[in-house]
Amino acid sequence: MNPHLPLTVLALAATLAAASVQAQGQPVIGLITKTETNPFFVKMKEGAAEAAKAKGAKLLTGAGKSDGDNAGQVTAMENMIAAGAKTILITPSDAKAILPSIKKARDKGVLVIALDSPTDPADGTDALFATDNYKAGVLIGQYAKAALAGKPAKIVTLDLFPGHPVGAQRHNGFLKGMGLPAPDAKSNELGKDAALACMADSFGDQAKGQTAMENCLQKAPDANLVYTINEPAAAGAFNALKKAGKEKNVIIVSVDGGCQGIKDVGEGKIAATSQQYPLKMAAMGVEAGVEYAKTGKKPSGYTDTGVTLIAARPIAGVDSKDVKTGTELCWGKK
């Protein structure tokens, strides 16, 4: 038998397959998240897959190995473009380091949309579909102010870690919502104020949030309001307060709207949380990709994917939705 026969057959098959993909004109869209495992991104992938199926697009997914793994995202992007992706949706792990790769992609005519958090600068991508994290902070700040009903606030903030834009936006938005002087939405610095009795870093982790809250309680035993960067940190804060016997007198507010977090709101552990919509971000991204493949039209600028205040106890003057609504819209395992 001709020794080259198997190779020839293989080459022929590959060409036919490639040709069929081209011939179908099926838009290929790549989604690159920060990690594979964070439920936020899992939900994003689900939303993207559903939208892709509905619109007849082909979805490729990839991610870095961990938060901050830029190289993994770069590799994923290169592989996806080589596989024919004309649109890349990405939640950048490193807002600056990813820029050169994105530029290369855009120079090739690939549409690149940032999801959930922007690149730095934000016009590094064609468009941004994300939560307005500042607004998310403002909403819970407003609720907290109203819930305090005039009592002087002694605030503990459990932040992410220094320098992270999302951490700064939520923190500063919260200060704004509380009516305190706050840096604007573009700032990466955490705003300070006399009412902030203690600021600590939780790294968005439950155990670290608990430790941070315990330490802050030592510094400010009479704190009555806790802002947390996300719901795992809030769960840790609640634990610490419960151990100190203070959970009934302290208001905890948070951001995220994951299903576990909404459950905690329902159980009274978290007073209010700003819910964000990863599913929507992904679906919008897929739609934009399909549109681009069909008409060549690119989206631009920043599109707010929405944030809703979820609270168990409604308060006059603050617009919030109830836990039932929050549960229907939540992301993660219900």
Binding site: P39, P162, A200, E214, Q218, G236, Q260, K333
Partner: protein, 327 residues
């Protein structure tokens, strides 16, 4: 050379001041004094007992890590194996309805099995521990995420979180888990000092060829150390569950390096054969004191990381210099 031999240190015998062992205590003393003067609440029984609770998970992980580092090995997977243990025990209790003690045992068995895996790869296949545990770190992490579906496990039976409860002791609230941690440290300290098996751990770390030549079952000692470490990671996972009240699949990721930091700060040599396990406890407490004190001072957590890094370099330098001086 016919002078008679005497016991104990004579005039000319070099009395090496164990700076390597005193160092961590001195660092702890300095840190505590500093924070006692610069903050109001640092030096209270309640705050100090809190710090012990905050370090109890890393503290127990670091016991296992100390044993491994004493044999000139290292374990980069300790934190995520701990997370795996906590997921196994909480899921078994909540989803499979297992009684808490049995579920806890299963969690510890799971972590011990990982220890066994590490040990077999090191002793039978003769792979360097750094590389082996780098691999098992990834495997354990993936298994934990897949099995838990990246969700925390909540609504645990009270028996599981009992170690997180506290009892009153002289004006402070001490957690049962803290008592367990201190008990474990004392037990291992005794074992390493007073039993042949413990001394063999030091010998294997100091000169494995020598131990083979004198008939010590070197491979068995190494395997035993890795399995023991796995058991300690399992106990740490119970403490983690007890402290936070949930099984968290994302726990333990910084504990991998935190445990190694505690061991190094405690004066144990990364080259094996030297170190006192109680030093590791001091090292873990120093890190907890820094974190607590800096928060009380209102200083950003970045400085805690900076100071820890400086202390690690100091600790290793002091160890090296004191060894050179004793020659």
């Amino acid at each position: 050379m016919t002078a008679t031999v005497t016991a104990g240190a004579a005039a000319k015998a070099p009395v090496a001041i164990p700076w390597g062992q005193l160092g961590p205590f001195i660092a702890l003393l300095i840190a505590c004094t500093f924070f006692a003067f610069t903050t109001e609440r640092f030096f209270s029984g309640e705050n100090l007992s809190l710090i012990l609770q905050q370090v109890m998970v890393v503290g127990v992980i670091a016991i296992g890590q100390t044993l491994i580092i004493l044999t000139a090995g290292i374990d980069l997977s300790c934190g995520v194996v701990m997370a795996l243990g906590s997921i196994v025990m909480t899921k078994f209790a909540v989803e499979l309805g297992m009684p808490a003690p049995l579920a806890i045992l299963c969690g510890i068995v799971a972590t011990a099995l990982f220890g066994l895996l590490n040990g077999l790869l090191v002793t039978r296949i003769r792979l360097p521990p750094f590389i082996v545990t780098l691999g098992t770190f990834n495997i354990a992490f993936a298994i934990t995420q897949l099995y838990s579906n990246a969700q925390t496990v909540t609504d645990l039976p009270p028996a599981m979180t009992w170690l997180g409860n506290t009892f009153a002791l002289g004006g402070a609230n001490v957690a049962y888990g803290t008592v367990l941690m201190i008990g474990l440290y004392l037990g291992i300290w005794f074992w390493l000092r007073e039993t042949a098996a413990g001394r063999h751990v030091y010998a294997v770390g100091n000169n494995p060829e020598a131990t083979r030549l004198v008939g010590i079952p070197t491979e068995r000692v190494l395997l035993g150390v890795y399995v023991m470490a796995g058991v300690f990671y399992g106990i740490a996972s119970l403490l983690s569950v007890a402290r936070t009240g949930v099984g968290d699949p994302n726990a333990g990721q910084t504990e991998n390096l935190d445990a190694i930091t505690a061991v190094v700060l405690g004066g144990t040599s990364l080259f094996g054969g030297r170190g006192v396990v109680l030093g590791t406890l001091v090292g873990a407490i120093v890190v907890g004191v820094l974190r607590n004190g800096l928060t009380l001072m209102g200083v950003s957590s970045v400085y805690q990381v900076l100071v820890t890094g400086i202390l690690v370099i100091l600790a290793v330098t002091v160890d090296q210099l004191s060894r050179r001086a004793s020659r």
